[in-house]
Symmetry: C2
Amino acid sequence: LDKISIGMLGLGTVGSGVVKVIRDHQDKLVHGVGCAVQIKRILVQDLEKERDVEVDRSIITAISAEIIDDPTIDVIVEVMGGIEETRKLLLRALENKKHIVTANKDLMALHGPELLETASKNGCDLFYEASVAGGIPILRSVVDGFASDRIHKIIGIVNGTTNYILTKMSDEGKSYLEALKEAQDLGYAEADPEADVEGIDAARKMAILSTLGFSMNVGLGDVRFKGISRVSQEDIEYGKQLGYTMKLIGAAEREGDRIDVTVQPALISDSHPLAAVKNENNAVYVYGDAVGETMFYGPGAGSLPTATAVVSDLAGVMRNMRLGVNGHSAVFPQFPKKLKTTDEVFKKYFLRLVVEDEVGTLAEVTSLFSQEGISVEKIWQNPKRGSISEIVLVTHKASQKNFEDILVKLNDSRVVKRVGSSYRIEI
Amino acid sequence: LDKISIGMLGLGTVGSGVVKVIRDHQDKLVHGVGCAVQIKRILVQDLEKERDVEVDRSIITAISAEIIDDPTIDVIVEVMGGIEETRKLLLRALENKKHIVTANKDLMALHGPELLETASKNGCDLFYEASVAGGIPILRSVVDGFASDRIHKIIGIVNGTTNYILTKMSDEGKSYLEALKEAQDLGYAEADPEADVEGIDAARKMAILSTLGFSMNVGLGDVRFKGISRVSQEDIEYGKQLGYTMKLIGAAEREGDRIDVTVQPALISDSHPLAAVKNENNAVYVYGDAVGETMFYGPGAGSLPTATAVVSDLAGVMRNMRLGVNGHSAVFPQFPKKLKTTDEVFKKYFLRLVVEDEVGTLAEVTSLFSQEGISVEKIWQNPKRGSISEIVLVTHKASQKNFEDILVKLNDSRVVKRVGSSYRIEI
């Protein structure tokens, strides 16, 4: 084996990066893996489109079969995105005994088990490091680095767009819409930012991380998620005054055989290193029973970081090909999935209540909390802003069920005009 | 292959941890690797000694040959430490076709190339993840995660003892000796703390990281290192006032084909996440040409974190055994080692000068700097402490050679009583 031929599906931002990385680091790849890699064919939609990278016209095609069914192509690099069409192409490629490297988190979150099983059945590798947190080799670390430990918690910032927006809101006092606009101008956010700002992208990543970390089949539907579009400048400011930073936090926790996976804007302690993770960067903490706390930090997105993750996976496939051991890397879930109920999840909470400015309000509010059995750690009455009277408070740990109950009671209370906002305090 | 037998050399802190991790996570190992692991024999010095973990008396031996020459033992786990004797045992084990997992950084920094070559020749794996930064899977990340990228910088905190001491000095105002004593009481520092506090341990780790990261054979002798025993409370305080935190920083940098590897107490910007790495924790930044900045954080030492790294390596060996592909993981240096000279290393510096309290001192000092061609970014005259008159300054980037020259000139100057201290500003 002196050369490995790859077929690429897609030549967008990440695809162009892959072409560049393979070109620029050919020497290192040959040294590390022992053979050269050649891009034999690239599938594109528009043959005429201008590209970020120079590619010989003869290797570009608009016909997927010229790649999927070409017996001389060893590995498929899928960087075209999409779900149903892409799933079919990859399944056919696997039946044709081609190995696959993909950066497609949507596909993996939805059809990961089916694809991995098909790969295994056909003796093929299917690697997808690039699908989670671009430049951080977190999947490899979760699988290999923790091969002998049991993970009980994965928590972090897994979406670059929302972290950029929250950083600008927090550090520069920008409004949500200003910050979003800036992220879009810089190319960090899509024209339609929904998947990012509503937490869907982060939830998909947490599903993949939980599946690997807890060895259970966790899907997008198992993640309770909420985005950042309703985070206000005032909540960020109150958080600051209490020593907290606002971040979109993905959290996956296991106790015994039951797990809880969430994505939501949450407050974290200023002194925690996650608070220092700014702009488009990502960081993931992994807690093992034996190792304790570890953290991986890096660029969450971007053409070259993601492309590097793709090509590192490609190097893994190539190494396995040279040794003749493809199709053995996948580790299938060991445990049945069991989700915690809301009375099994305990957290501290931040609450901002818009209240009547009258005597007895504080007593009424605290009595509601004590009826619900939730104890209050800090309470801050009347930090008046203009004509609005507010109570800001931080609870001790309470079950999510109790907390949801008290939100209802507070909304019903005569002295509370409305619950201005509420956030988990994660760390 | 339904069971893999291992022989352990050593049953101290890390060894006991390895026994515990193998016991507690046997299920996960069997699931991930496909077969069970059995500890067949353990070499100890003192058969009678009380251990942290319960071990059947029948598997303990004081005779190394009962492990090294036992044909039924597949893998040696070396956690006894030591250099010359250990080197000989491991070389013999490799000739006997046994795979090796070691946590011995001293040995790997000194004899890594010889051992890796012998392993490769005998078709054996030799893994040593645990030798650098205990709980962080940094070696695996540097090798696999960056397989398709070119690393140009590795910088971080790679010694837990010194980071604990500096944290206590910085956050609690303790003196160096108080903090050292506390670290010793807690078991973070040895009774003889020299290897840690003088930077030797960190230098060994940087040698291993540089070897892998730059694909050059870097030894301890190639690392310029300095410890923390002369770091004073006042330097930490001045640093704080300028927005910097004092850390023992390992830095390995490459430009073109030339590298520079150092370990020294240095100032880093408060806002940089490394400044938030406290106590016994470690963190390593790796910069790739394509990926950009990534960081790995975790416990730098400790029985269970280190043991987990050992057993994760063991899982790698076992996986390779089942696939029949041992002895192919080592990647040998691709490039000849070339070190930068001191006129090729450019850094900003912090300087504290004890000066004469008289008119013209500042002019004299600044003129020395301008003669040397070093420009000054900040200068802070006479932050007088008692009867001592001082000048504190921060330079723009200057070559190390120029900086060393100016230190000599300053010491010779009539107005400068002495150079109180000087530190690199790394970030």
